[in-house]
Symmetry: C2
């Protein structure tokens, strides 16, 4: 079966996010002063072929550990959706 | 009131995503052959001070148009959450 897995990766809370800070300053500079903070992360979608949802989740977790996520600086959140 | 706005930005469907392709090949190379496709986008969270939800949404949309999103190549999806 095919699964669409979404991995949302954000910098840890409290950790400085220089990219977000730069975008924040840019938005303020063009007059959008109501914006008080910006944080930038990644959204990755994986198309996975697996026998069941738990196998698909395992594959996603392994991908995160080995390649997608830097656990020192980032938090990841995985959601699995079966494709029909 | 404070609103947390999440902007999910993905490359248009059907458009080549070289970053996703590179990660896909990398994952396959370390043995994760069940992964058939990878697409990489951005997840941006904005903290916005506004009088109501519709004003907050307007500010987010303006940010997307002017700075965050390249409409030629990317699709954006905005969700607004009131912070209490």
């Amino acid at each position: 079966m095919n699964y669409e897995i979404t991995v949302n990766i954000m910098p840890h809370e409290g950790l400085l996010d220089p990219q977000g800070k730069a975008v924040h300053q840019g938005l303020n500079k063009i007059g959008l002063n109501q914006i008080k903070d910006v944080r930038i992360g990644k959204k990755i979608t994986l198309l996975v072929e697996a026998y069941n949802e738990s196998e698909a989740t395992k594959i996603a977790e392994e991908s995160c550990q080995k390649v997608l996520v830097n656990a020192v600086m980032e938090t990841a959140e995985i959601t699995v959706k079966e494709l029909v």
